[in-house]
Amino acid sequence: MAPAPGTPDPDAILDLRGVDKAFNGVSVLEGVDFSLRAGEIMALIGENGAGKSTLMRIVTGIITADRATTMTWRGGPAGFATPRRAMDAGIAMIHQELNLLPHLTVAENIGLGREPLTRLGLIDRARLRRDAAALLARLRQPIDVDRPVGTLSVGQQQMVEIARALSLDARLLIMDEPTDALTDVETAVLFEVIRGLKAEGKGIVYISHRLGEIFTLCDSVTVLRDGRTVHRGPVAELDEATLIRHMVGRAITDQYPYLACPPGPERLAVEGVSAEGVRDVSFTAAGGEIVGFAGLMGAGRTELGKAIFGASPLRAGRIRVDGQEVRLRHPRDGITAGIAYVPEDRKAEGLIQPHSIRTNMSLAALARFCRPGGVIRRADERAAVDRFMAAFAVRARGIGAEVRTLSGGNQQKVSLAKALMLSPRVVILDEPTRGVDVGARREIYGLINELKAGGLCILLMSSDMPELLGLSDRILVMAGGRLTGRFARGEATQEAIMARAVG
């Protein structure tokens, strides 16, 4: 059991006390305490930007602490100078943002840097593939090990990332939001694997914004708020409301606020649409309505979203917006038709990481800030960006801050703001709260509901079941690229949806 803040734990294998870290003079961690025992699953939670990833990046030697009273790992010093040394000491981490090489195959990615060699010193490809396949089998992922990673869905890539971390056979495995792109089925498998590691006496640090998971999986919890440790203790002594209060400093009631709206006229009609990964899908959606899409990984939800937006070509079928048929050959056609799309992979598809918040947020909607001839009215642009920064409560140094320096949740808010700046008629949200904390989620849900009240038609693709059930007016279930179930709000239950999703 974890001790109260400040008191040392004699049984800890990892013990950090008084850790300080600042970036460019801005303090991110202040006197953080964190410890973990062998065979313990420790939840590390906190709002976006609280410093969870930063703390764990210190443990894995990616960055170094500015100061610390104690940092020990299995009795020895823990402040590793490089990731390689931390890895050699038995510490592995699954990072929050995907870190795979898209052009290499699944097997190559899993074995990267530790390729088995033949006696001639060449890479033993057969063994590389066999090892990779075995790891994926353990995760029950029937992914072809010869596929380039770039062709996999985000969830599948996440599983590959997990397989790579497992292959290190570490004594301490840090998982930074491993499930944010996984659906319930994959999550359950992952939990089984994690419990197996626990039984082997390994230490696990588990970071997640899905609070339900903390209660199902974890033994103890450490809560960070604004770079300080505000709570440490066993999970069994807490309930969700208390946990939230520790995280955000206030109570959040009504986590998934449903807004009942009188349904408006039909906005979007999708008729017999087929595309890459999508087969013969038909549905309609009205203004002021949230249509949720459930399904397992690879069910075709993302592909459907991309087809409706014009990002992937239609093979068959028609799409109408406000009764008008639209021809979609490029995302620009989707935007012109009043459709906006928030991609699930914000790093690869949503935002330009080394560019500023400002240029990212206004990129899609830039035309509305331009005089004829394309000169940007910068004051207008700035005002709009400022407005969204405030509405979404984005935490950053300023609108000139590079997106890559933001915490994951804040990046997600920028990505959402970018789409909504188009004032669309239909918005496709693919995992809109991936990596977003409870407080900010609540804000985002509030915003989504406001847009809904304003007559926006919202397609919500989410693998977070409580979110889907909580917000949607209707839920459509997909499996193998087809629609396999339709539920009205109230009829939909987790079990009923799962039954259809498995196909």
Binding site: P331, P343, E349, L363, I376, R378
Partner: protein, 313 residues
């Protein structure tokens, strides 16, 4: 820290330029004279004009190796037009249009054909050099003694208010294209395409069209450089511009623009072009042989690229 110091600390190339100029001024008394400084600006102006287009291309994540050949072919066509008594302005306009068209073809091969920019423009470099040799029959084309020849000469050799015309042109090019880059949608899209092509596409940008336009700008400015050079020499050499692509790339990279695309400024390129100009001038003043000059230039570029590598980590 006060404001000028802050500007400096964020502009390492500018510090480099100031340090370099100070050092040269100490070593060679004839360096800091108005004549010599104007001379440096005039010599730098051709590379600077090409480097502006190169900045656009590199910001978009590409590279253009064909600028030297575009310069040569356009210079030859311009000389031929002027010699053929076409009015100077028409000759220049047609030449610029040709350059833009040749660049746009590069852009189409890259943007729609999906060919690597390095390969596409290497091919263009070879083919256009060949075309120049065919067009000129391997001999220089003089601008002749016709009515427009004198007026044409002033584009390369004349002065406005004591400042060489090429310098004025380069200053205009930097101003106009600098504003386009920072103040217009076209500029933002250029950065976006180089920053992340997938994101750019999903943001509604027609990436292929944008690339056609970007390489078109590079071609246009290479043609402009060809016009200046031809005017100054009163003739077009079929081998003109060979190796100029390297000087332009060097100016861009020394100026801090990332070869990976998406990051950099035109101001940096201006400083980069000046660093290379001052370096050449200093080595000349100090009587260093041109063989050593090449080594020195290479070393400066290597330093800049190493600095870029560290920055992006």
């Amino acid at each position: 820290m006060n404001a000028p110091l802050q500007v400096l600390s964020r502009n390492k190339p500018l510090i480099g330029l100031i340090v370099l100029m100070t050092a040269v001024a100490v070593m060679s008394p004839s360096f800091l004279t108005v004549d010599n400084l104007l001379n440096i600006l005039r010599q730098t102006s051709i590379n600077a004009v090409i480097a502006v287009g190169m900045t656009y291309v590199i910001l978009s994540g590409g590279i253009d190796l064909s600028v030297g050949s575009v310069l040569a072919l356009c210079g030859a066509v311009c000389a031929w037009l002027v010699a053929g008594d076409v009015s100077v302005w028409l000759a220049i306009s047609l030449t610029l249009l040709l350059g833009a068209g040749l660049g746009a073809m590069n852009g189409a091969v890259v943007g729609f054909g999906g060919v690597q920019p390095f390969v596409a423009t290497l091919v263009a470099m070879t083919m256009l050099r060949g075309a120049t040799l065919v067009f000129t029959d391997g001999r220089p084309i003089t601008t002749g003694t016709g009515a427009g020849a004198d007026a044409f000469w002033s584009v390369g050799g004349g002065y406005v208010a004591g400042i060489p015309v090429p310098v004025v042109i380069a200053a205009l090019v930097f101003t106009v294209f600098g504003l386009v880059l920072t103040r217009t949608r076209f500029g933002r899209y250029t950065y976006a395409v180089g920053g992340n092509e997938v994101v750019a596409r999903l943001s509604g940008i027609r990436v292929g069209v944008q690339k056609v336009a970007i390489y078109g700008v590079a071609g246009l400015l290479a043609a402009l450089a060809g016009v200046i050079l031809t005017a100054r020499l009163e003739s077009a050499q079929p081998t003109a511009g060979a190796g100029y692509e390297l000087d332009a790339i060097a100016a861009v990279v020394v100026g801090g623009t990332s070869l990976a695309g998406g990051r950099g400024t035109l101001f940096g390129t201006l400083v980069g072009a000046l660093i290379i100009g001052v370096l050449n001038n200093a080595l000349n003043l100090m009587d260093v042989s041109s063989y050593y000059q090449m080594i020195a230039k290479g070393a400066v570029i290597l330093l800049a690229v190493l600095a870029d590598g560290r920055r992006s980590q």
